[in-house]
């Protein structure tokens, strides 16, 4: 059955974005004139590294941020002139947890229903329906602070759907969750999309998530759309195979690289580092936690009303400097952990070229540790269109701390459920 739409029979896309731009502090073009459309019932993924402009775009579409220029229409309503109508049409599951941990799951849902003006019996019925949908019915009356990361995420998704939005925004829906929970969240998202034909925009920097879930993928980098297509077509753009070479001594990359570049069957060469900045971040956070004892707010705070004043309140200069050097640097492809660099080659007919590559390495005295051959994945697509590996952490210091916080919270109580 087809439902009638605002536009009747004419083809109006449910989301139309036109030259949307956001400039922060008059200089940082976080989102730079992007335009695209989304059809009803589609799952569109924003794929990009941290700080690429994904969340900023989402916040503008959700009327939380006013665009510097350009506009967008959601379900026929303009985000600038009709923000209220837009807000009614959307549900938003934020990247950072926005549940009230001191309330129960049911109370969180009930508050949401009230804010959206749902009547009492409608609220009651939908809370039951939604908590069953995300399999939380038996835990609905427990305080959210006792939930596991996956349960919190499911509750947030249930909440985002309570008012029956036409469009659902999911900002990094599985950030920090373990693979099993991630799978189950994916299942929920797919079911929602199919059963309720909700249009979904999700942001992610997990390529496999984008590949698995999305009808189309919009790769965004430095605020611009780099490409927009179906996962299959994106991958098909990279004709050939990927051959990954791990060198025993990574410094020898400079020696073998020019030799490979001479060959006409090598289409592209990228140096890939498996970056490990999350571990670095964990160490930093531990250091900071040790120091935060002295960062009090003065004893005089009767009635302080928020529990969120955590250990990240103050930061010794020493740590800030280390963080600035260690994580913010543009060059982190090479500095993070030198031992695991490898060369990725895009090669015509890779299987037949491997012997030749090995021979080449032997002749130039480079010892290969391993050679891998695989079909191009979205990771490779990303690398080829942006020139960078998607897993390289980038972005401001605050952003890094914030992500760490989210990951910590998501992992926090896995033992409970």
């Amino acid at each position: 059955m087809t439902t009638y739409h605002t536009g009747g029979l004419t083809e109006i896309s449910i989301i139309e974005v036109n030259e949307l731009t956001k400039v922060f502090n008059n200089e940082i073009r976080a989102v730079d004139g992007i335009s695209f459309t989304v059809e009803e019932g589609e799952i569109l993924g924003f794929l990009g590294p941290n700080g690429a402009g994904k969340t900023t775009t989402l916040n503008m579409l959700a009327t939380l941020l006013r665009p510097t220029s350009g506009t967008a229409a959601l379900d026929g309503h303009d985000i600038i002139t009709e923000p209220d109508a837009v807000r009614r049409s959307i549900g938003y599951v934020f990247q950072d947890p926005t549940l009230d941990l001191e309330l129960t799951g049911r109370e969180n849902l009930d508050f949401h229903g009230r804010i959206y003006g749902l009547k009492r019996d409608v609220r009651r019925q939908r809370i039951t329906e939604m908590s069953e949908l995300v399999q939380l019915a038996d835990r609905a009356d427990d305080l959210v602070k006792t939930y596991s990361g996956g349960m919190k995420r499911r509750l947030e998704i249930a909440r985002g759907l309570l008012h029956h939005p036409k469009i659902l925004f999911l900002d990094e829906p599985t950030l920090g969750l373990d693979p099993q929970t991630r799978r189950s969240i994916w299942g929920h998202i797919q079911r929602l999309n199919q059963e309720k034909s909700i249009t979904i925009i999700l942001t992610t920097h997990y390529t496999e998530e984008a590949d698995y879930l999305c009808d189309r993928i919009l790769i965004i980098d430095f605020g611009k759309i780099v490409s927009l297509d179906t996962p299959d077509k994106l991958k098909a753009r990279l004709e050939g195979d990927i051959v990954s070479l791990a060198l025993k001594d990574p410094t020898k990359i400079v020696e073998i690289r020019p030799l490979l570049e001479e060959k006409d069957w090598v289409r592209r060469i990228n140096v890939v580092a498996s970056s490990n900045s999350h571990a670095t971040m964990s160490q930093m956070m531990q250091m900071m936690r040790g120091m935060s004892g002295s960062a009090g707010m003065g004893g005089m705070m009767p009635g302080m009303n928020s529990g969120s004043v955590g250990g990240s309140g103050r930061m010794p200069k020493r740590v800030q400097r280390m963080l600035a050097q260690g994580i913010g640097s543009e060059d982190d492809q090479h500095v993070l952990d030198g031992g695991s660099e490898s060369l990725n080659l895009l090669v015509d007919d890779g299987g037949h070229r491997i012997p030749e590559i090995v021979k080449l390495a032997d002749a130039s005295g480079v010892v290969l540790e391993s050679v891998e051959l695989h079909k191009p994945t979205l990771d490779d697509v990303f690398l080829s269109v942006t020139g960078r590996n998607i897993r390289d952490e980038r972005g401001s210091f605050i952003e890094t701390v914030r992500r760490h916080r989210i990951v910590q919270q998501a992992r926090g109580r896995r033992d409970v459920g």
Binding site: G303, N305, S312
Partner: protein, 262 residues
């Protein structure tokens, strides 16, 4: 664009404040204990040293000020907590909902005013049990009036807190807020000494502190006596100033909050 006020949204924010307040038992107990220490140690200690003023004991003189302190800190922090809510929490959820920012602020003001006033009532009871107020029939009327005054005071200071919270964007400024706003407001409010004994520049500063009028009003309600500096209709002047302050703070808080972005 003007959005209508939403009763449900106001109610949700208010209810949330109340539930959170009630579930944080440690906070209730610690703030009660803190005020008790002030009353017991300062009231009895300094009281033994200076005696009393104008026919009332120092403990009695101190009690309304200590209540005022509880109201001040409780309500400003409740207001300022919009920073944390906005950056990390629940408030973001409300900001994408089709409700006006004004409804959110009003809910915050009512909720904060209610929780801080509940705290004030507890303090009033503690002070009463310590013998700060003479138990007469007029005290009952006075206590009821005092509750009204508490709501007025706290509503104003939650408004101030929301205004500050909308402008501040990081935690570092929090210490500055406590040192440069909260402490002066508290110490200039005539908690420890009557305005008459202060030198003129200090008197001027005290007259500029909205909490001073709040504490004076509480003193009028609970002790039947206030400073002679404001004249025989001192309570009316104090009430007028307080109403003006509260109205201004709620308006300013609402304005700044609606301008703030995530």
């Amino acid at each position: 664009m003007v959005q209508p006020l939403s009763g449900q949204a106001i109610y949700v924010v208010l209810l949330r404040e109340l539930k959170r307040y009630w579930r944080a038992k440690a906070r209730i107990i610690s703030s009660m204990a803190q005020s008790f220490f002030f009353l017991a140690i300062f009231g009895l200690g300094i009281g033994g040293f200076v005696g009393g003023f104008g026919g009332i004991s120092y403990l009695s003189y101190l009690a309304p000020g200590i209540i005022g302190m509880g109201l001040l800190f409780g309500s400003v922090f409740s207001g300022v907590s919009v920073i944390f809510d906005r950056q990390f929490g629940f408030m973001k959820e409300m900001l994408v909902a089709p409700v006006s920012r004004t409804s959110i602020v009003l809910g915050k003001v009512f909720g904060g005013a209610m929780t801080a006033s509940i705290q004030g009532i507890i303090l009033m009871t503690v002070a009463g049990l310590m013998g700060a107020f003479s138990p007469t029939l007029t005290l009952i009327v006075g206590a009821i009036a005092a509750i009204g005054v508490m709501i007025l005071i706290t509503a104003g200071f939650v408004g101030l807190g929301v205004a500050i919270g909308s402008v501040l964007t990081d935690f570092h400024a929090f210490q500055l807020l406590v040192t440069f706003v909260m402490w002066p407001l508290f110490m200039l409010s005539g908690v420890f000494f009557p305005i008459e004994v202060a030198p003129v520049p200090l008197q001027v500063a005290m007259l500029g502190d909205p909490l001073f009028y709040g504490v004076e009003l509480l003193r009028w309600c609970l002790l039947g006596a206030g400073t002679s500096l404001l004249g025989p209709f001192g309570w009316l002047i104090a009430l007028g100033v307080l109403v003006g302050f509260t109205a201004a703070m709620v308006v300013i808080g609402t304005y700044l909050f609606s301008r703030a972005q995530v």
